[in-house]
Amino acid sequence: MHQPSQREVRVVDIAEANKEALRRLVSATPKLVGMGKAIDVVPGMKKNMLLHSGPPVTWDRMCGPMKGGVIAALIYEGMAHAKEEAETLAASGQIEFSPCHHHQAVGPMAGIVSPSMPVYIVENAAFGNTSYATMNEGLGKVLRMGAYSPDVIERLKWMEEVLYPTLDRAIRFLDGMDMKSIMAQALHMGDELHNRNRGATSLFYRAIAPAIVRTTSDPLVIERVLRFIDGNDHTFLNLAMATAKASLDPARSIEGSTMVVCMARNGTDFGIQVSGLGDEWFTAPAEVPPNALYFAGFTKEDANPDIGDSSIMETAGLGGFAIGAAPAIVQFTGGTPRDALNRTLSMYEITIGENTAYQVPYLNFRGTPTGIDIRLVVEKGLLPFIDTGIAHKDPGVGQVGAGLVDAPMGVFKKAIIAFSKMYA
């Protein structure tokens, strides 16, 4: 860690720096412009590289579902034929592991991105930056939850060979899609854009369906693609994440800003990055969500600790921060719509401002609480609240539920101590 000497300590106006960080975040203009293969479009991607969620982690420290995702990706890429061969290769040092966030990308749960995987491309024209995310596979037994069985690989291949070119043609035919508009409307339709994306997925479907029909000739392909989008309420989650990432990245590296620009988990560690502290990660052990709903046959004993880049949604003032807008998933918050609103209200205590585009209808269309200030988190002992999917702790099983988790206080304490050493 960089330890500045006394002479290097800088005097700054934190309030002004945070105002600028928030301005950049809320004035983003994220647009889905097309898709591409990760190896062709993701900066720094290599043929022997796998991206993963959260802060950096080595193979030996990876949790079960992330190892499962790595196994799936190596089989999918044809670099291994079975679990044992994939594990040997992953441990050999020939595969380079790197966080999605180091490549302008984000991935839900295990967050594995391999070279052949197609990714969405979201451009933030207001600031000239771009972000990337893979397509959502659906719920249950999927790679991002650590599953690697033949049906999982077969689905990924179909997504690469059929779904990707179909969507890409349609997106480009539409000359791109305004993500901010879809997300703003979705919040008025009961989404918080992390665990509920039904409204946003429906809006995406309405916008893209005519373009798919126009640009694809095979009616059976059209039918299967439209059914796939329609059959997965989380189709939009990955787009929402890429949008949040594209919106937050311009707020990075503002001297003197205490705003959090990234919260991400790899299933072993929970990490944050803070605008005024460059690209340094502050980490603490990831925790099993204490309050959760489990699928039939699963309990807390099966749950892996918190995992995934999807907490980029809360970092951008959505997800758990906007759960007051999502009464349909109030069971996660332990009861009533009032409980969900109280969760959202409490997040205003630790944020710099509000997002004028993203609103909570039940708070008289108040903007969502946006821009986590590490000082407020530490001062109030009030932690960012994340609603999240839960993977099984073992590789190969998949999703077992969804629930609520607080970011660990340790990461904010470490960050504020580092900040006070760098700035007066």
Binding site: R375, G381, I416
Partner: protein
């Protein structure tokens, strides 16, 4: 209010912090309003010192 009045009138309490005080009073039938408060930085001295230097800037 004179101090003596405390012992002759109904007790109404605002409790700050630990909820066990609130619960004990409620068991005695006393009306209590709870203020959700915790020490800054959870009482961690190094983080509190960092916070002291950075707040209000």
């Amino acid at each position: 209010m004179k101090t003596i009045d405390l012992f002759t009138s109904e007790l109404k309490v605002i409790n700050v912090g630990l909820t066990s005080f609130k619960e004990s009073l409620e068991q005695e039938g006393v009306k209590v309003v709870q203020v959700d408060w915790r020490p800054p930085a959870g009482g961690d001295e190094e983080a509190m010192e960092a916070l002291r230097r950075l707040m209000g800037k």
